[in-house]
């Protein structure tokens, strides 16, 4: 089997057992990138020489019996808003097209110390908002992969990387992962350091990432956060709170049907689903999220925006401008309503292993101009709760659909335990996708 096809866990086991060298794995992934990049455009920067140098160093260490972690010698992608020492970091913006940080973001540094190899920087929408990257969806290159972590999702989906870092302020990890038929995970707010990640909205930004399996998501989390709360073990089958209301009203017919089919399959396997009524405060999520994000984005960009407004593309320019007009009292009021929403959602989920809803409003939109709606993910960025998408099936036109599971705060490994159970029962193919162009 070509090494690019391996999951992170498989590659890790083979490196540990001597059946695969980091050098061979890196070569295979670089070949895959060479072959597919013209069709997918997932990468801003790949430095093959640096990749091979790091992989060879990991190979030498492995030969001497030094295996630093399950990530030893495993390459990973990095969304281009994470600072990488000596490697260009553009934020998807012409304003930063030649910016080269002199240090790594904490998350990248942690992975490097664990023996992982930086494969390159992946495409992002401009400053992780909505102005699109050139990346295409491997499932159908006429469709968006979603955003803002566009390149990371596409790269993992088609086997260019077993894991890639993303970030989520609205729906920028879970949505593109769902659109590309892979696992996307964001832990509880602030569990993973945001230091060295270019900010969009300080109180909403989450570090997250994509993998092709839930097992790989758990390995990544344990590498990034060694003292993460252990899983408590669940009963044989999970008990999930099923979210209708807002989600049913806003889902396309096809997305809701796909969700019902996935739920039906899991129910047939013994999962318990209980209809959960959303609290009245939940209706305020879109407004509260918009007020907070627009103000914090305006504040983060204010100095540069004042000097170089023309350096910003259309969507983010309008978004920042609108945030500059929000009264301070409205921002504070939004943060006060957020307190109420968080309290109400916490109370709601205590009786379940997790909550469940569709990952996205619909499948990946056709065209590259719009990266899709974050409406089903923004509530979990606003409340800071851990969330994960597991691929659950295909639409009529063979585009992926996902099941979104939402966990209790700081109970990431419990959530991933349920996600692994669902992944096993839903039987969605985990192999890398060869890009398809109709």
């Amino acid at each position: 089997m070509e090494p690019y096809r391996l999951s992170l866990a498989e590659a890790s086991r083979m490196i540990r057992d001597g059946g695969l060298t980091p050098t061979r794995l890196a070569e295979s992934l670089l070949d895959r990138i060479d072959k597919l990049e013209p069709a997918v455009e997932a990468w801003v920067t790949v430095d093959p020489e640096a990749v091979m140098e790091a992989a060879e160093a990991a190979t030498r260490e492995a030969a001497e019996g030094l295996i630093r972690s399950p990530f030893h010698g495993v390459p990973f992608g990095v969304k281009d808003i994470y600072y990488t020492e000596g490697m260009r970091t553009t934020m998807g913006s012409s304003l930063y097209s030649s910016f080269v940080p002199d240090h790594d973001s904490v998350v990248v540094k942690t992975l490097k110390e664990a023996g992982a190899v930086v494969l390159g920087k992946t495409e992002t929408t401009e400053f992780a908002v909505h102005d699109p990257a050139p990346t295409r969806n491997p499932w159908n290159t006429l469709h968006t992969p979603g955003g803002s972590s566009s390149g990371s999702a596409a790269a993992v989906s088609c086997g260019m990387a077993p894991m890639s870092l993303g970030s989520q302020t609205g729906g920028s990890v879970v949505r593109p992962a769902s659109y590309c038929g892979i696992v996307g995970f964001k832990p509880t707010y602030d569990l993973l350091s945001r230091e060295g990640v270019f900010p969009l909205s300080w109180s909403l930004d989450h570090v997250g990432y994509m993998t092709r399996t839930v097992e790989d998501a758990a390995i990544t989390l344990k590498t990034l956060k060694r003292d993460v709360t252990p899983a408590q073990g669940m009963d044989d089958t999970p008990k999930m709170g099923l979210l209708g209301g807002y989600f049913k009203e806003n889902a396309s017919d096809e997305a809701w049907l796909g969700f019902e089919q996935a739920v039906g399959k899991l129910w047939g396997e013994g999962a318990e689903f209980i209809d959960v009524a959303l609290p009245p405060s939940f209706g305020m999520v879109p407004s509260v999220h918009r007020v907070i994000m627009s103000v914090e984005a305006a504040a983060a960009h204010e100095d540069v925006f004042r000097v170089s407004p023309d350096g910003y593309r259309e969507y983010i320019r309008g978004f920042i401008s609108s945030g500059l007009l929000v009264p301070a009292t409205a921002y504070l009021r939004a943060q006060r309503i957020r307190s109420v929403i968080i309290r109400d959602i916490h109370a709601l989920m205590m009786d379940y292993d997790c909550l469940v809803c569709p990952s996205t409003v619909d499948t990946a939109p056709r065209g590259l101009e719009w990266t899709g709606s974050p409406a089903f993910n923004a509530p979990w960025s606003l409340t800071g709760l851990p969330s994960v998408t597991v691929p659950s099936g295909l639409s009529e036109d063979e585009m992926p659909l996902g099941l979104q599971l939402i966990g209790k705060p700081y109970q990431e490994l419990n959530l991933l335990q349920v996600a692994a159970w669902c992944e096993d029962k839903l039987e969605f193919p985990k192999e890398p996708r060869d890009p398809y162009t109709p």
Binding site: Y189, S321, S322, L332, S339, Y410
Partner: protein
Amino acid sequence: MSGDGEREYIHMVKETAKAMWGTKAAEKLGDHIERTAAAVYAVSNYPLEPDVEPVTRMRPGGR
């Protein structure tokens, strides 16, 4: 929540935008300004008890 009050508020914000950036630029930003202004109006009209404090340093679950 919507109605004359919301329309008047959005109109006021749009006029402010024109004063700040000029009519042409403000019109180009119109959709964003309208959506954020509508969100502000909704937030401003949501009833809250005085003791509800804003999220400042967010620690879900109180940790």
